[in-house]
């Protein structure tokens, strides 16, 4: 048995005496280089954009209640609505939301004082509000209406100035994402204390590392594509204008070379969260830790070779087969993760906390997205369902059933660490029930309407699909309602939740070996991680957890100061 390593020496006494001071709310509105403040800034901003994007989704579903155009003034208004919905959800919600958890949790999990480049970190965040304003402003001039994918020539020769603003905003967000990712990689490589070896790193750090590698290698392609789009729009070049010798498939190639890996940017951190949450709340080590970590890298690598499956109906036929094969291969590392998670909870002592419920919900929903992903990779079947509601359903199973469920799991899991107070578990369970069933009945029927013949991105559709769409819209409203529950829960718990203490979940990773919320420098000295980040069930780990509890939560009457 290994020796018990407790991260604190002589400091224990002083910790017991203090009440925990939370940062004043006004600090979150100011420039700050503290990764914890920045993490919360990212989180709150992204969540606001989630609400905006969600409201847009509600309007979309309202329009689709009937087969005719009745809520929107024109088809173009509807087009700009879903363009904004996609852009906001991808660039302003999911990607920055993972930057939020990455920022808050990764340095703590590594045992670092801060990120490698604190100033750059703040700068990357503060690029987001102006970029968001530029993108959203586009909605009020002649809006972008070419979808978030912005295929030319619709986005070049046939769109208004909003499209230019859209491209500018996306450019800024891409740069923010690159800067954030460089920061994560350097932090993970350089800021680990000596005892935190690479194979002791928590799996969230592995996932953020893989994500960041994807982001730094792929996002420049988005920058390149957007530069060309802007030049075509404002400088009169003809890169995407066939009449001038350009090629419309050029955009698709370069855009998807970024945007397919971007799917993994959006879901890999969620997979990291899942490994954390499932292990902690089922009190069992992650099954096959190394394979889970390496499969993140595998997904990152293979993710670069599959982009052209988005072009199955436009690519030259002879080029389609190789991309079908690579796309199918990516199911293998994803499957490894899925089975490893099952192995993790199998035989454990599952606590049905809200975080755990959402993690289980992720597994239950993401598997459907995975299965339909393989179905879509099968070229002949994809030809039928390409650009239909089947695809809409598939990527919402991946990005909502995957990413958003993981974001909720992460929220319930780390909220006590961020605020020092617990979230309300009963409300969490209600929230989960509404989200899970609302989600399932919104998106599962979309597979069927897609296969039956409903294309995506239409405001007007065949009357034969009216009943299905009413079911979908109704469920979508239920799903939309579920957001209010979590908003209420967040606000209420921030002020009135029970005091969490340092380690409410009795988790072994380092972020729990400090106060909640952690002090400005995170740890008083280089913390020594437990020999195994997920080594639950041993006497050593129990002793370690008891020591942490004694070190930080010895005083029963701890208070949180605002």
């Amino acid at each position: 048995m290994a020796t018990i390593a407790v991260p604190l020496g002589a400091e224990i006494e002083s910790h017991e005496a203090e009440a925990v001071q939370r940062p004043a709310l006004s600090e979150y509105l100011r420039w700050s280089v503290d990764h914890k403040i920045i993490g919360v800034q990212y989180g709150v901003a992204s969540f606001l954009f989630f609400i905006i994007g969600g409201a847009m989704a509600m309007l979309i579903r309202l329009e689709l209640w009937t087969p005719d155009l009745d809520v929107m003034v024109s088809g173009a208004a509807y087009n700009s609505l879903f363009t904004m919905h996609g852009t906001v959800m991808i660039f302003l919600f999911i990607i920055p939301m993972w930057a939020a958890f990455g920022n808050f949790v990764v340095p703590l999990q590594l045992g670092a004082k801060d990120m490698a480049f604190p100033w750059l970190n703040a700068f990357a965040f503060w690029l987001i509000p102006p970029a968001a304003i530029v993108v959203l402003l586009g909605y009020f001039v002649t809006p972008a209406e070419a979808g978030w994918t912005s295929y030319p020539p619709l986005s070049t020769l046939f769109s208004g100035d909003g499209q230019t603003l859209w491209a500018l905003g996306a450019h800024l967000l891409g740069i923010s994402s690159i800067m954030g990712s460089i920061n994560f990689i350097v932090t993970i490589f350089n800021m680990r204390p000596p005892q935190m070896t690479i194979w002791r790193m928590p799996l969230l750090c592995w996932a953020v590392l893989a994500t960041s590698i994807i982001a730094v290698m792929a996002t420049p392609f988005l920058a390149g594509a957007l530069t060309l789009l802007l030049l075509d729009r404002v400088a009169g070049t003809t890169f995407f204008d066939a009449a001038g010798g350009g090629d419309v498939l050029l955009w698709q190639n370069i855009f998807w070379f970024y945007s397919h890996p971007a799917v993994y940017i959006m879901v890999l951190p969620g997979m990291g969260v899942l490994s954390e949450v499932l292990s902690v709340h089922s009190r069992k080590p992650v099954f096959g830790y190394r394979m889970v970590g390496l499969s993140s890298m595998g997904i990152a690598f293979v993710g670069f070779t599959v982009w052209a499956h988005h072009m199955f109906t436009s690519l030259q036929p002879e080029l389609r087969i190789p991309f079908m094969i690579t796309t199918m291969i990516i199911a293998v590392p994803t499957g490894i993760k899925m089975f490893s998670w099952l192995g993790t909870i199998w035989g454990g002592k599952i606590r049905f906390t809200s975080a755990m419920l959402f993690a289980l919900g992720f597994m239950s929903m993401f598997v459907i997205g995975g299965i339909t992903g393989v179905m879509l990779a099968a070229l002949p079947f994809d030809i039928h369902v390409h650009d239909t509601y089947f695809v809409v359903s598939h990527f919402h199973f991946v990005l909502f059933g995957g990413s958003v469920f993981a974001i909720y799991a992460a929220l319930y899991h780390w909220f006590p660490k961020v605020t020092g107070r617990m979230m309300n578990e009963r409300l969490g369970r209600i929230h989960f029930a509404f989200t899970y069933f609302g989600f399932l009945f919104t998106f599962f029927p979309m597979h069927i309407v897609g296969m039956l013949g409903m294309p995506r991105r239409v405001a007007v559709y065949d009357e034969a699909f009216a009943n299905w769409n009413q079911l979908i819209s109704f469920s979508a409203f239920v799903l939309g309602f579920s957001t209010f529950i979590v908003i209420y829960n967040i606000i209420r718990s921030y002020y009135r939740g029970p005091v969490a203490g340092a380690n409410p979940w009795r988790a072994l990773t380092l972020e729990w070996a400090t106060t909640s919320p952690p002090p400005v420098t995170n740890f008083t000295d280089d913390p020594i991680p437990f020999e195994d980040p997920y080594g639950y069930g041993t006497e050593a780990s129990a002793a370690y957890l008891d020591a942490v509890e004694a070190a930080f939560d010895g005083n029963e009457n701890r208070t949180i100061l605002d």
Binding site: S181, G224, N253, I528
Partner: protein, 203 residues
């Protein structure tokens, strides 16, 4: 007492813990940034490459191929400039400020010479070429590269003026600015080599 930095590093640089860590972070960050941002140049090479398929031949019918003579001279100037930057940086590390100032002055002059030729190339694309992607992609690539070269030249100038004012007499932390500017200038050279080959030699 634990340390963020392995002891070898400490012995080598003689820096205290935080400064050594900052240097290490800066170096890795610069490497990752270079690896990342070179991808934009690759993306633009993909553009050039894919647009070739819009035409039966490259350069397109009726368009005279670009003369590689002047750009080759420019390329040589740029490479020489990068080598001088390297030499000056080495000199500064050896404590020879004078060598640094001379080398960087020369390097920046060569850099300006390179950029002048590139601007000339940009301005003098024939009408026939500009009617096709052959000319448009040349403008895209030279223009895109020029913007980077200009920005990084400005960084070098800033560092040079700092050196004139005596900012880099000893402290390693400030010397990072020199190292960073030098590495950015290498980046300019590498990025240009990629474009140079694609633009003038791959038909």
């Amino acid at each position: 007492m634990t340390s963020y930095v392995d002891r070898q590093e400490k012995l080598k640089t003689g820096l205290d813990r935080d400064a050594a860590l900052r240097l290490k972070n800066n170096r890795l960050g610069m490497t990752i940034f270079q690896a990342s941002w070179i991808m934009v140049f690759f993306a633009i090479i993909v553009v050039n490459w894919q647009l070739r398929f819009s035409y039966a031949q490259w350069p397109p019918v009726g368009v005279a191929p670009f003369d590689p003579l002047l750009p080759s001279i420019a390329t040589l100037a740029l490479l020489l400039s990068a080598a001088l930057v390297r030499q000056g940086w080495g000199g500064l590390r050896g404590g020879k400020l004078g060598e640094f100032l001379v080398s960087w002055r020369l390097a920046m002059a060569l850099g300006i010479g390179f950029m002048t030729i590139i601007v000339y190339e940009f301005m003098t694309v024939s009408e026939a070429a500009l009617a096709t992607q052959y000319g448009i992609t040349l403008r895209l690539m030279t223009g895109f590269h020029f913007v980077h070269a200009l920005a990084i030249l400005a960084v070098m100038l800033h560092v040079y003026r700092g050196a004139c004012a005596g900012a880099y007499s000893g402290g390693e932390r400030e010397a990072w600015a020199v190292e960073g500017a030098a590495k950015l200038w290498y980046f300019v050279a590498v990025a240009w080599m990629l474009f140079y080959v694609v633009l003038y030699w791959i038909r």
